[in-house]
């Protein structure tokens, strides 16, 4: 049974739904508190959920990325452990230097909550559930600062927005992984797409990367 540590900062919002999605896939979710120096015993994989950690003050994810728990997460990643950062979690990973680039204010200068189609750009990571390149996943975005900025040559794009790039991400990048592929960050919310009642189960392909 895979144990996934779901990190919680003051201002984390999507930790509960992320834990439910993880448990829906047959894993165990445990909470990792930001102030702890170590991940919970038995942690196999780490999920940094969405939200407004520290109110998005200074820069999104900036303060959270300097939390005590991040040292343990960095070591886990360096040892090849799986880490998935969703939305604010993606921002935290970029601020912590575990993924390249930065997330900036949406091109619309507004919050955008909308179902999007994500195209698989790289089928070689655990994060796309075996779907082929070009396959589409229906997953919603909901954020203020979701425009990925950086040098695409330094990133391993895994998912791109298809049919429009309202957030204004460089090369319509929705999610990237590190070179090794064990650390993944994306702005869309796969935990909102793990239930037919909510409109899509494509999120399972992404979250499943924690378990495979």
């Amino acid at each position: 049974m895979t144990t996934v540590a779901v990190v919680r900062f003051p201002g984390s919002l999507d930790h509960d739904s992320a834990a439910r999605a993880v448990e829906g896939l047959g894993a165990t979710a445990v909470e990792a508190w930001h102030a702890d120096d170590a991940l919970p015993a038995g942690t196999d994989a780490v999920l940094i959920p969405g939200g407004f950690s520290y109110g998005d003050h200074l820069r999104c994810g900036a303060i959270a990325s300097r939390s005590h728990i991040m040292g343990a997460i960095a070591r886990h990643a360096a040892e090849g452990g799986r880490v998935l950062g969703i939305c604010n979690g993606f921002q935290v990973l970029c601020e912590a230097g575990l993924l390249p680039g930065a997330l900036r204010r949406n091109a619309t200068l507004s919050f955008v909550c909308r179902q999007m189609n994500l195209e698989v750009a790289d089928a070689g990571t655990p994060w796309t559930g075996g779907r082929p390149e070009g396959a589409l996943l229906s997953v919603p975005v909901k954020n203020n600062e979701g425009a990925w900025y950086g040098d695409p040559a330094t990133a391993r794009p895994v998912l791109r927005y298809a049919g429009g790039n309202p957030l204004g991400s460089v090369e319509a990048i929705a999610g990237i992984a590190n070179t090794e592929g064990n650390v993944m960050g994306l702005m869309p919310h796969p935990e909102e797409a793990c239930d037919p009642l909510l409109g899509s189960t494509d999120g399972e392909a992404i979250i499943g990367g924690l378990l495979r």
């Binding site: 003051p10 201002g11 919002l13 999507d14 509960d16 739904s17 439910r20 999605a21 939200g51 407004f52 520290y54 109110g55 998005d56 003050h57 507004s110 919050f111 955008v112 909550c113 909308r114 919603p140 909901k142 203020n144 919310h189 935990e191 909102e192 793990c194 239930d195 009642l197 909510l198």
Partner: protein
Amino acid sequence: MSSEAVPLHRRLGLTDDEAALIPELLGREPTDPELVMFSLMWSEHCSYKHSKPLLRGFPTTGPRVLQGPGENAGVIDVGDGLAVALKIESHNHPSAVEPFEGAATGVGGIVRDIMAMGARPIALLDSLRFGSLESARSRHLFTRAVAGIGHYGNCIGVPTVGGEVAFDDRYEESCLVNAMCVGVLPAGRVLRAAASGPGNALVLYGNRTGRDGIGGASVLASAELDDDEDKRPSVQVGDPFTERKLMDCSLELADAGAFVALQDLGAAGLTSSASEMASKGGVGLEIDLDLVPLRESLTPAEILVSESQERMLCVVEPGRVDEVIATCRKWDLDATVIGRVTEGDRLVARFGGEVVVDLPARLLADDAPVYGVPQDPAPAPVPLAIDGIPQPADLAGAWRDLLGHPNVGSRRWIYERYDHLVGANTVRRPGGDAAVVRLPGSARAIALATDCAERWCELDPRNGGRASVLEAARNVAAVGARPVAATDCLNFPNPEKGSTGWRLAEAIAGMAEALTALEVPIVSGNVSLYNESAQRAILPTPVVGMMGLLERADRSVGQAFVADDDVVILIGEGGRLDASEYLGRTEGAPEPVDVRREVAAIDLVIRAAEAGLLRSAHDVAGGGLGVALAESAIAGGRGARLTLASGRRDDEVLFGEGGGRFVITVRPDDIEVLMALTADLPVAVTRIGVVGGDALTVTIGDTRVSLTVAEARDAHERALPEALA
């Protein structure tokens, strides 16, 4: 008159009579802090002194009611050991002065009301009114209010799942921002404000106290707005990050059973919360103002009435104080014991070792004088002289234009700025008749909608009151849910002028009639009076927040046409152009509301939904049948061929409003079963056509009008973005 010449009590907003009453009640002259406290607690916003007698007309009880009006929010039992808390509240005057922070702090305040019941907030809705979008000022107020609601709601992680907005010149100077919040809690753990247990500790936690809103919400809400620049500094600034921590902390402590009583601090701050906690509990409270954590130096009166946001007050047994303080520290929140519960009934406050307040709490909380409002009936509404209104040469063009009107078109511009998904429980998103939110840990779901028939309330307030309730109920029924509880926000002009007092009484009477027939109690609510300026008064706007229950979250019904060959059926009949969106002005005599028939239609739709017969359902509201049909076609991406009975004229058949109608679709094979459900009901049920094709084609007698789904969608989508460009 210079401010020096005006007596203190008048500057504070008390009438001479009220000021004379205070020393009689106290047996002495009040201290300055006490006078300030009376002025706020006896203001309209806090005391409801003009509306209290009229509100008694509402039905407020029922088998599901765990808490009716009188607490921070109402609470309804929804089964499975769960209860739902709900309330709607206004923040109109602050929003007219500073729309972003006014709307944001409105959201903050209503969320704290739900938290104060021990409930976890799971949904927000907002009901908004502004002047026409042709006015730059109204565009500014509207866009900033939406930004403020999004800023606060998104940051605290409560999905904003629904609401409504309408634009009318009457709101140009006096916009309306009503925020509704719904939360979930264990049915056996309803927390209340009543303090108890002499010796128990009074703990204040959350943000530090500053000069925010000194004389704010209470003063602004009790007077008409003029160009008084002095009101500007009174608007509070919200801190949603702290509110989120407050929420997580409060729920953790509530789950641990640490609270004897819980109250949030809103209008009139510590004064209001403490006096209500004492008065409700029949106990006294002693407060040491020196212990209140401050942001800046304040006088005792300022500490007592500060409206600094994101603060909660609780009563805790002495043995659990350390636990409460430690939990607050974990969430990085200030927490301080500032007083204790005492025997007796007095509210006592000390500052610098001196007693500055010492009076029976009920004088502030309960004993504000109550006033009647003049009942001067307005003249009976005059039916529209319909022959004087030219018929459109191009009916399809008129249809398209109506879909493109800011009061009718798509609200996507708004709801994409709100996180309407957080929590992964939003089963039906904004854009439909009602939002559907799954209850955590249950197979059930709740349906939520807000509604008001303000033009009808101006012309014919008794019918307007009925219609406001029934429209909200229809929105909930259209997704297959049974209305079980309501909350209301009565937004009216000055009740002491003209026919407003009469309209208030009549609207309440009409609402009460419809609520009683629906067996839906009002469990909470709010009154906002004096919404007017020197130029004009608002339309009387009694907003109804309706909650329905779905036994199965996966059985909700949408408004989209889903399959070709489905049969389109009209439930109910009637409709006239008077006071309609198509007419575009508040004129005429609204169609009288037959409460019995409309309730029967609502019940029919719910039973048909529960029987699994409905492929789609949509209520007929603003823009009449033409708009309802177009919306179902747009949502489903398919048209329909329809035949409607002739009326006085074609545009009235297509765009007339009233009659409590629905448009539903059913599979051809299910028609017989549906018709069996409708037998013996006083409800007209008429087949009007069939789903199919890429256009809506309607035959009315010799007239044939056609609008492609693509054209309809284009006009519908462009309405708000174009009006804002």
